[in-house]
């Protein structure tokens, strides 16, 4: 006989397993628990990862932030400790001379965290961070538009006094039923017209910061606040195929050459790349996932060994029955298949129950977290398990169940039928 779906055989197996329901339950418990733990730990690890990833928001993975500091090495007649400052000219030079940069968005900033009130509208005032930026900023950190529009190229060229405000700014400066678009706000004594309102894709404090900021055209910013052609810092988008580290090194070498900084001076510029952060996070999470796999796997292994043990006992207890079956024409192959089938059925049934309970728990946790809005923005959110992980664990379990069945099955046919029948 070959392997085929054998309904009769299946009924036979169920009948046998129901013989000793308590034992079946207890032996299946180990495997169920193992799978439950795997699903639960991986789900939790994913929740942690989702929570942390959310904090990065929708920032492009190939983006980089760069600012200037002071030199740490004397070079070309300059002493060490010279403060480096960037100008629009430097940015244009960089864009023209770099092979890896795809977009450059210089930014300037006014006010900041817990700054004094700097924005007014009639009798309403607020302390907000004001950024002068280029339209390219959207490529690097996307902000969802709630109404109106973003800063565009024409705003920059025409030095328009326009502003795009965060939704929190709107709440503070405008009445709830008021349309902010077209409204006028006063930033450090200069009037700007609101052309758009944006939200945030980030969470927690990061989102709050976003929502309490005001974005105005870079050129208008520098004109209104007397910054000349100064640039506070650069946001860059580099070629996706280039590694973050080498992109950063390249950009800095271009700027070092232009600004007469020693090529080995690591202190003149500071930088931060999303990819680098992302990579480190990925490493932490694969470590967490690895650990959960190991522990879940050990639980599963213990479960499987439990099943093997129970099957060995079952086979011993049923020696007589198996002898009778062989006298009635069951070949050793059929007996082996029967024992393997029982082992597999036991493993799969309880593994599946464990997996379902695990997924259920994760989903329940997810639902529970959603009912607590104050948890929103925490480092643990949307715990989830991909169907891949569940399927992989189930397959692993089936393979291990198969291995666990070998010894009992071999034991079952190792005795001659005559001895088996004689055993009581």
């Amino acid at each position: 006989m070959n392997w085929r779906p054998d309904w009769d055989g299946f009924i036979e197996l169920v009948q046998i397993l129901l013989q000793k329901p308590m034992r079946t339950m207890l032996s299946g418990l180990g495997v169920g628990w193992g799978l439950f733990m795997i699903v639960l730990t991986i789900g939790s690890a994913n929740g942690l990862q989702n929570g942390v990833s959310q904090e990065l928001g929708d920032m492009a993975k190939n983006s980089m932030f760069m600012w200037t500091q002071s030199t740490s090495k004397p070079y070309k007649g300059f002493k060490r400790g010279r403060p480096i400052e960037l100008t629009i000219g430097d940015v244009e030079y960089l864009a023209a001379n770099s092979t890896v940069v795809e977009a450059v968005a210089p930014q300037n900033q006014l006010g900041g965290w817990r700054g004094s009130n700097n924005v007014t509208r009639g009798i309403k005032t607020g302390a907000f961070t004001v950024f002068g930026e280029f339209p390219e900023q959207q490529l690097i950190e996307a902000r969802p538009l709630l109404s109106g529009r973003h800063i565009n190229k024409k705003d920059i060229e025409d030095l328009r006094k326009v502003a795009v405000i965060g939704s929190r700014v709107k709440e503070i400066l405008f009445a709830s039923d008021e349309d902010p678009i077209g409204g006028s706000i006063r930033i450090n004594g200069v009037n700007f017209t609101v052309v758009g309102v944006f939200g945030s894709l980030r969470s927690g404090e990061d989102a709050e910061e976003d929502l309490q900021s005001i974005r105005i055209p870079f050129s208008s910013f520098n004109q209104a606040f007397h910054k000349g052609d100064e640039v506070g810092w650069l946001c860059l988008l580099f070629d996706e195929d280039v590694h973050a580290d080498s992109a950063a090194a390249h950009v800095m070498s271009v700027l070092k050459a232009r600004l007469s900084v020693h090529p080995d001076d690591d202190r003149a510029f500071g930088h931060w790349t999303v990819a680098k952060d992302f990579e480190e996070m990925q490493m932490v999470f694969s470590a967490i996932r690895g650990v959960s796999f190991v522990f879940g796997g050990l639980a599963l292994l213990a479960g499987i060994i439990g099943i093997m043990n129970i099957m060995l006992i079952t086979v011993k207890e049923r020696t007589n029955e198996l002898g009778i079956r062989r006298a009635l024409g069951a070949s050793p192959g059929v007996v082996v298949r029967q024992i393997m089938g029982e082992t597999l059925l036991l493993t799969m049934l309880f593994g599946l129950i464990g997996a379902i309970l695990g997924v259920g728990t994760i989903e329940g946790l997810d639902a529970l977290l959603k009912t607590f809005p104050e948890m929103e923005g925490g480092s643990f959110r949307n715990p989830e398990v991909s169907i891949d992980v569940v399927v992989q664990s189930l397959i692993t379990m089936v393979i291990m169940g198969g291995i666990a069945g070998i010894l009992p099955a071999v034991r079952a046919v190792s005795m001659r039928p005559v001895e088996a029948i004689r055993t009581d």
């Binding site: 006989m1 309904w7 009769d8 036979e12 009948q15 046998i16 013989q19 007589n320 029955e321 009778i324 079956r325 062989r326 006298a327 009635l328 024409g329 069951a330 070949s331 050793p332 192959g333 059929v334 046919v413 001659r416 039928p417 005559v418 029948i421």
Partner: protein, 204 residues
Amino acid sequence: MDVLKGIDCKIDAGELVAIMGSSGSGKSTLLNVLGLLDDFDQGSYHLDGMNMKGLSEKQAAKYRSEFLGFVFQSFNLIHYKTAMENVALPLYYQGVNRRKRQELALQFLKKVGLEAWYNHLPNQMSGGQKQRVAIARALISNPRVILADEPTGALDSKTSNEVMELLKSINKEGITIVVVTHENEIAAQCHRIIRLRDGQIENE
């Protein structure tokens, strides 16, 4: 240890033969060899003209399934299966489909007078009934030979006679039956008696 020491005998198709002997005489071993449940070291055993020496377990299972039916002293029914399921079991190993199996099982239960008990578990039946279920199970695969090891050993004399009557009627249909027994009144109902002593045939 040598149990059988040179058995030379021939049982013809359609015979009803008793094997007798005191305990330890080797009569059960002989039956097990005949039933392909046990191996033998020397000599040859021909079943239906085929040599059964050195069969693999798989082949032995095939021959058991095709040629042989077993009846045991302790009935050896599977305790968690109903009468019908027990009777149908040999057909399962022959790959007969479920419906056909149940149909035949009922037919054979009827033959032993127990069709009304088809849904009963062995522990709900008397010894005589259990043995009749076991006989129906031995018959269902349409064997050439039925090997019965002390079939009445656990039964009172009345049920013993009923079982023997059943075996005799089956024998009349042309099925060869070999009965191991130590009861003279059982052996007396057979065509021929082979008496064993210390692993050898004492007389026939």
